[in-house]
Each structure stands twice: as structure tokens, then as C-alpha cells.
């Protein structure tokens, strides 16, 4: 086990540098004129242009310039310095403020997906072809069919503005209540998928041999479902949710924008829009780490759920 985790951690280091190199290269290649992008439609003064060019080595172009800037970046990164955004803010500080909010939001979304998705999935799996099963299937189909970019403003308009059940936006220092609606919106897509996965898996396991054995031994139904079926059925769901946690943290760009939540997606969107290369690379580097770690946790969780799986 230790050796397995150690091996994975070593792989993570390689994966981390590989992805940052690619992301850095992509932002570098896609960069038009970040200084003008920063100024919007205003003219840029020569003084401002000269200042920013020198500060961010924007004059270093071409392949040589790329490696010069990349190694400069990595050198700072290894010293724990994520650099400065083009507006002169420390990226480490930006992330420190943005991260907790996004983590909260992602966890709410994940909790919504687990609580509603998994339990409804189990019920639907046990009572297959019942009214409950059919209606959840239709509902999840509907949710899967509506993209977040439509769902989020609709939820905001009806639940936030029209009926005023939730605050329409979260804003600064959001409370749990303010994050609930965006969390539900964000989690609804994972909820639908988790529900369908659980349902299929539970339905399949109910017909497995070991369930028949357990039933013929005279075990009560609740114990069969909770201890035997559920545990085996959760393996695909855990894989999905683990990967989804990474997605939720980075993929909240739309939701965070609509509900004005100053999290990671919010900053990433701004970074992309204003061609703020350092900011984009900084955020993505951290996201890479999140992905790698959540994948590792998922793999380790397998062993907990399924004793047959062993890591050497």
C-alpha cells in the first residue's frame, strides 16, 4: 500500500510538470496582445506598455523566449511563488481567497448529489419499473438535457428573483444559505448521473448470486440491501463522484459567474477573458493538483469498498 501510494505520488510529480508545461505553452501560443486586452478599448500609453513588457518578460518571444519564461515560472513556483497577475496582484493571494469558496460550493454540490442522487438511485433500483423509478428517470433526463448555462439563470430568476426563496446572488463572504441554490444547480448534473449509475448498479446486484444466497439464509431485506448490495453498488458511483469533485471545483465557471461567487472559476474566467497568462497558468496548476489528489483518493477508496482489490 505504501509503495503504491509512493509510486502514485511520484507519478503525480511528473504529471504535474507535464501539464503545466502544456498549459503554459497553450496560453503562450494563444496570447494576442495581453497589454491591450488589459486596457480594453482604451489606448495604452507607451510608458504603461514598456513597464508591463519588462515586468512580465513579454518581449521574450519565440521558442527561446518560451523556455526562458517557462523556467522562470517553474523556478518561482518551486519557491512557492505563483507570481503576479497582469493587474499586479499576487496569484497566491487570489487563490487563497478564491479556493475556500469554491471548495464549499463543490462540497455542497457533491453532498446534494450524494444525498439525493444515491438514495433516490437505491430506491429506484429496488423498486424498478415503479412510479418512483419512472418519474426519476424522466426528471433526470430533463436535468441532463438542460445545460448549466440555461439552468443557472432560470433557477436564479424563479427561485431568487420571482419567489425570493433564495438570495439571487452570493457575493462576498457567502453564507451556507446563499451558496445552497448555486450548489444545487451545480450538483444537479452530477445528481442525475449519480442517480442513474446507482440505480443500474443496484438493480444489477440485486440479481447477483450472493444476494440469493443471503436471502435464502434468511437475512432481513434491509441488511441485504445496506450491507451487501449497497457496498458493491457504490464502486462505480465513487469513481464517478471522485472525478466529479475535480470537475466541480474547476467547472463552476458558469455557476460562479451567474451567482457572483468570487471563487476559482470566477477568477479563471477573468484570466482567460483578459489574456492574463500568469493567472490562468497559476489556477490551472493548482487544479491539476486537485485532480491528481482526488483521483488518488478514489483509487484508495476502492480498497475500502471492495476487499478483493489490493494494491501492491
Amino acid at each position: 500500500m505504501f509503495r503504491y501510494i509512493l509510486r502514485r505520488l511520484l507519478q503525480m510529480v511528473l504529471a504535474f510538470f507535464g501539464t503545466t508545461l502544456i498549459v503554459y505553452a497553450l496560453t503562450f501560443a494563444g496570447q494576442g496582445d495581453p497589454i491591450q486586452a488589459l486596457a480594453g478599448e482604451r489606448p495604452v500609453t507607451p510608458a504603461q506598455r514598456a513597464y508591463l513588457t519588462e515586468k512580465y518578460h513579454l518581449d521574450a518571444t519565440g521558442v527561446g523566449g518560451f523556455f526562458y519564461r517557462y523556467f522562470d515560472y517553474v523556478k518561482n513556483l518551486l519557491q512557492g511563488n505563483l507570481g503576479e497577475s497582469l493587474t499586479g496582484r499576487n496569484i497566491g493571494d487570489i487563490l487563497q481567497q478564491a479556493w475556500p469558496v469554491t471548495v464549499q460550493l463543490a462540497l455542497i454540490a457533491l453532498a446534494v448529489a450524494i444525498i439525493f442522487g444515491v438514495s433516490a438511485g437505491v430506491i429506484a433500483g429496488i423498486r424498478r419499473a415503479s412510479i418512483f423509478d419512472n418519474s426519476t428517470l424522466v426528471l433526470t433526463l430533463l436535468v441532463l438535457g438542460i445545460p448549466t448555462i440555461v439552468l443557472a439563470p432560470l433557477a436564479q430568476y424563479f427561485l431568487g428573483v420571482k419567489w425570493q426563496l433564495f438570495p439571487p446572488t452570493a457575493g462576498s463572504d457567502p453564507t451556507f444559505y446563499a451558496l445552497l441554490l448555486p450548489g444545487i444547480v451545480l450538483g444537479s448534473l452530477s445528481l442525475a448521473t449519480a442517480l442513474r449509475l446507482t440505480r443500474a448498479s443496484v438493480a444489477e446486484n440485486l440479481r447477483a448470486d450472493y444476494v440469493r444466497t443471503a436471502r435464502s439464509k434468511g437475512l432481513v431485506k434491509r441488511r441485504i440491501v445496506v450491507v451487501h448490495v449497497l457496498r458493491n453498488s457504490l464502486i462505480p458511483v465513487v469513481t464517478f463522484l471522485g472525478v466529479e469533485l475535480g470537475n466541480l471545483m474547476s467547472g463552476a465557471i458558469i455557476t460562479e459567474g451567474v451567482f457572483n461567487i468570487p471563487g476559482v472559476g470566477f477568477n479563471l474566467f477573468r484570466g482567460i477573458r483578459t489574456e492574463d497568462g500568469p493567472l490562468v497558468v497559476g489556477i490551472v496548476s493548482v487544479l491539476v493538483v486537485v485532480y491528481l489528489v482526488s483521483n488518488l483518493v478514489v483509487d484508495v477508496l476502492y480498497a475500502v469498498l471492495d476487499p478483493r482489490i489490493r494494491y501492491e
Binding site: 501510494i5 510608458a47 493587474t87 471548495v103 431568487g160 439571487p168
Partner: protein
């Protein structure tokens, strides 16, 4: 078994985080709400909050609360003194600025002429990379502070006379200098802002100390809000509200939802996609007021297709401005037929003359006689909500001129400019201008003179340049305006750009505030705003 227990230990932190997050996010009830006392105003995350480094609206909005300008503008857009006692000059070259006594910075420092001189020198010194650097270019000695290793750190044109008086010598006479002083870049900065002479503290920007009606409450909370409270020792007009929260939004649509729900007090700009429904959504909370923005189409001079002024006039005559402002902008903008904004002293209606009037038959005749191109392209930036009106314009050109016309979107304005600089065929391209201070020169200079900072299309006419120069060197305002108007007449003849529309402030308020006024620079008047009782 051992394996499983280890695995459980690894999985534990995840579970703990889950649990902690679920409990930790409780906190006080209600959210995003403005609270009972603070008035909330929407802004975007400012780029900077240093006076000499702030050129966008959001930063300027916050600074209007924290600072008090030397001069402000009255209803006719003539400057009047606020922090200055008097601004005088006998020859328009050497200006004497006397400060009012009694102004103090929020940290208790008395405001002296040094604070102005230091702040302006800081802004003009090129290695500081300040955005407003070019606003100081008219002051004598500015050139010595430019370049990588400037010769001097202080402009020779700034001279302290006593604690409340200083003189500004310009490199050449400039009639509008008093008007220019109302701009954000000309605020003073206290001694506490500098760690050494000419070196600004990094922390200053996080909680700027000014001499205005409001002071910072805490620091700038990036991406979330900036709180300010009334500064009781402010000697000028006292604000009616005690606290203001500048709430930062990334997207206007989110802010619009908050205004609808009475959760945000002032939204200075209603998003384009909500313009058609806003009047009915907001009722009497929907408001408009004049603003200085000017939208136009420009012709790059390197493109020979459009080099004949008659072609440009014909295109202008083929555009039905009234129809577009009505159908696309729902009356939130007004048709433009002049080259400067109607809010300015010296503005005349219809200076474009016949070329500004919609006349499809005449347009087609003129276009064919002048040999206009068979295909017209209008380039625009795709991120600014311009597609609708460009499409409408393109369709009008197709029908009225009988040519092929297309709109071509570039991702960002910067991409468009890069193409123009490389002289790639972009066709006509859209541009807009918002003034920095209310003079005709602020339109004519940057947009149409040969070296104008925003003259990306390369228009150049020596007679025009000369007239603008003579105007700014004039002895009296009337004389200056006469020269500027003559210059504008040249534009009507050459038609370097097609004026399209003048903007308006279209804003929304909550039911909790009253007396919301917006100025020509898209800023809310923070002294006049009141809580509705």
C-alpha cells in the same frame, strides 16, 4: 485487513473535510444583502485604486468617494472649484492653483500643495508604469520623466509657492487646463502613501487614503467588495448616507438579478440583453440620464477601397440610425450626426450635414458614382454585445446600396487593433469613445489628430491638426470653441469616421434609495444619493 485499515486512514481526511465544510459554512443569516444602513453600488473589480493608475469606470467610481477633485463640472459642463480655491492664469501657460484651507486626508494629515506635486510627479514618471501617465504631458518638463532611465524625477513645471499654493507651467498655452484638472489623475496623495520620495507603498492601494467625503472602511476585498464610510471632517458638501458598499460583480446579469430582487441599490449599467425588458421589470426604478459615449465606424486609411470621401459619405447616408437606435437599443442610445458629444459646450447638431441624413436613393447614386467597393466588411469585437447592431447595419447597407456586406467578429478589441496595426483588410471597424473631461478637444485631439492616441485608422489632415492646436492655445473659451468648430467642419468634409450613436446612462435602482444621479462619466453621485425613508 491491514490494507483496508490503511485505506480507511487515507480516506478519512476527505470525510472530515466534507463534514467540516458542512458545519463551517453556517454563519449569520441573510446574504449578499446590503444590510440596513449601507447603500450598495455595483462595480466590476477595479484594476487599480491609485489615482494616477485608474482609468476605468469602476476604479474611478470608488475614487470619487475617497477623493475630492480640484474642480468639478456644473450642469453646463463648465468647471467650478471644489478642493481648489481658485485656478487662474493670465496667459493660459502658467497656472496658479490655490487650495481651499481645511481639507485633511483621512489619516489627519493636512492637504498641502506638496501632496499634489508629489502625486503628479509619481504619475508622470514613466518607470512607475502609471496608466494616466499621458495626462501630464502638457506640463513643462514631462519629457524628462519618460523613457527607461529618465533624466529627472520631478517635472520642472510644478512649483510650490506656499502650503496652499502652487504653480503649473505648461509647455505651451492650453485654454482647457482648468477643465482637465477634474480628471481622476489629478487627485493628491498623502505623505503616508509614500515609503520614500517617489516610491508608493504597496499597501496604499489596498486602502487608499484620500481627502474626499468618504474614507475606506477596512481594506479592498478583492473580487467581493469595497466598503467606505462618511468622513466627518470633510469640509465640502456632506454626503446623505453614512456607508456605501461597492459590490463587485463579474457579470452584469448577476447584478441585474440582484437589482430586480431589491438586493442591490444601484446598477449603473443595465446589461444589453435585459434592455428590452428592463423598463417593465423595474418600473420607475428604471432610469436614464445623459452620458458622453460616442459610437462610430472608422475607415482605415491603408484600405484604398474607402479612400474617396464620397464613398464614406454614401455609406453614412445608407444607414438608418433612427431605426437601429429604436429597434436594437430600445431608445437607450440616440442617433449621432456630429463628431463630438452633445453634452459638450460647443456641440452643434448635424455637423455631418447631408451625410448624416438617411437617404437611400441619394446614397446609392453617390456610391456608384464614386466607385465604392462591391463588398463592405464591418469588423467588431465579439465580446461587447455589438453583433445585433452590426448585423442590422450590414443589412441596411445590402438593401440600400445594393452591395454585398458582412459583419466580421474578432474575439476581442485587442485582436481587432492588432489586425489594424498590421494593416490587414478589416474593412470598416467599430470604435467608441468616452470623454475624460468635458471639452471638445478631448474628442478632436485623441480621435482625429495625426498623433491622436486613439486614431487607429490613421486619419491625418494638417489643417485639422493646426486648428485643434490653435483652439487649445486660444486666449478665451469662445475663441477656442470657434476654432474647434472650424476643425469639426473639416471632419464633415473628409468624413474619416461615420458617427452612429451617442450613449446614455441606463441604470436601475432599488426601492431603498432615492436621488440617484449619474454623471457623464458613468459614475454615481455619492454625495447626493439618499436612503429612501
Amino acid at each position: 485487513m491491514r490494507v483496508r485499515r490503511l485505506a480507511a486512514w487515507t480516506a478519512l481526511p476527505l470525510a472530515v473535510t466534507l463534514g467540516l465544510a458542512a458545519c463551517g459554512s453556517g454563519g449569520d443569516g441573510g446574504s449578499g444583502g446590503s444590510g440596513s444602513s449601507a447603500v450598495s453600488i455595483q462595480i466590476a473589480e477595479p484594476k487599480h485604486l491609485v489615482p494616477t493608475n485608474t482609468t476605468e469606470t469602476s476604479g474611478a467610481q470608488v475614487l470619487t468617494g475617497l477623493f475630492s477633485p480640484l474642480v468639478d463640472y456644473d450642469a453646463q459642463n463648465k468647471p467650478y472649484e471644489v478642493a481648489a480655491e481658485s485656478v487662474t492664469s493670465s496667459d493660459n501657460k502658467v497656472w496658479t492653483i490655490k487650495l481651499k484651507d481645511g481639507f485633511t486626508f483621512h489619516n489627519g494629515e493636512k492637504v498641502t500643495s506638496d501632496d499634489y506635486i508629489n502625486a503628479w510627479n509619481y504619475g508622470a514618471y514613466a518607470p512607475n508604469g502609471q496608466d494616466s501617465n499621458y495626462f501630464f504631458e502638457k506640463i513643462a518638463g514631462y519629457a524628462d520623466l519618460q523613457g527607461k532611465a529618465p533624466k529627472a524625477k520631478e517635472m520642472s513645471g510644478l512649483k510650490k509657492v506656499d502650503d496652499l499654493t502652487f504653480t503649473v507651467t505648461l509647455s505651451e498655452p492650453y485654454i482647457d487646463f482648468k477643465t482637465v484638472l477634474g480628471y481622476t489623475a489629478f487627485y493628491p496623495m498623502p505623505k503616508a502613501a509614500f515609503s520614500a520620495p517617489g516610491v508608493l507603498k504597496d499597501s496604499y492601494e489596498q486602502a487608499p487614503i484620500g481627502q474626499g467625503p468618504f474614507k475606506m472602511k477596512g481594506t479592498w476585498q478583492h473580487d467581493s467588495k469595497i466598503d467606505v464610510e462618511r468622513y466627518d471632517a470633510y469640509p465640502g458638501e456632506k454626503p446623505k448616507v453614512k456607508n456605501i458598499e461597492f459590490r463587485i460583480y463579474q457579470q452584469l446579469t448577476a447584478a441585474y438579478a440582484d437589482v430586480l430582487a431589491d438586493n442591490l441599490d444601484v446598477l449603473p449599467t443595465i446589461p444589453t440583453e435585459s434592455l428590452s425588458t428592463a423598463p417593465s421589470d423595474l418600473g420607475d426604478r428604471y432610469k436614464t440620464s445623459p452620458m458622453s459615449s460616442f459610437q462610430f465606424l472608422s475607415f482605415p486609411t491603408f484600405d484604398k477601397d474607402y479612400s474617396n470621401p464620397d464613398v464614406r459619405k454614401a455609406i453614412s447616408m445608407a444607414i438608418d440610425r433612427d431605426e437601429i437606435t429604436k429597434s436594437v437599443f430600445k431608445g437607450s442610445q440616440t442617433p449621432a450626426r456630429s463628431f463630438v458629444s452633445p453634452v459638450l459646450p460647443g456641440y452643434r447638431e448635424n455637423t455631418a450635414g447631408k451625410a448624416g441624413e438617411f437617404n437611400p436613393t441619394e446614397a446609392k447614386k453617390l456610391y456608384q458614382a464614386a466607385g465604392g467597393p462591391s463588398k463592405i466588411v464591418i469588423s467588431y469585437n465579439g465580446d461587447g454585445g455589438h453583433k445585433d447592431w452590426v448585423d442590422a447595419t450590414v443589412n441596411q447597407l445590402k438593401t440600400n446600396l445594393g452591395v454585398d456586406a458582412v459583419g466580421s467578429a474578432e474575439p476581442k478589441f485587442a485582436d481587432l487593433l492588432t489586425k489594424v496595426e498590421k494593416k490587414q483588410p478589416v474593412g470598416m471597424f467599430r470604435m467608441a469613445w468616452v470623454m475624460d473631461y468635458p471639452t471638445m478637444e478631448d474628442y478632436l485631439g485623441p480621435l482625429y489628430t495625426t498623433n491622436g492616441s486613439s486614431n487607429y485608422y490613421g486619419y491625418s489632415n494638417p489643417d485639422f491638426d493646426r486648428l485643434v492646436k490653435e483652439g487649445s492655445a486660444a486666449k478665451t473659451q469662445d475663441e477656442a470653441i470657434a476654432k474647434y468648430q472650424q476643425a469639426e467642419d473639416i471632419l464633415a468634409k473628409d468624413m474619416p469616421v461615420i458617427p452612429l450613436r451617442f450613449g446614455e446612462n441606463v441604470f436601475g435602482t432599488s426601492s431603498k434609495v432615492k436621488n440617484v444621479e449619474m454623471d457623464l462619466f458613468q459614475r454615481v453621485n455619492l454625495v447626493k444619493i439618499e436612503a429612501a425613508s
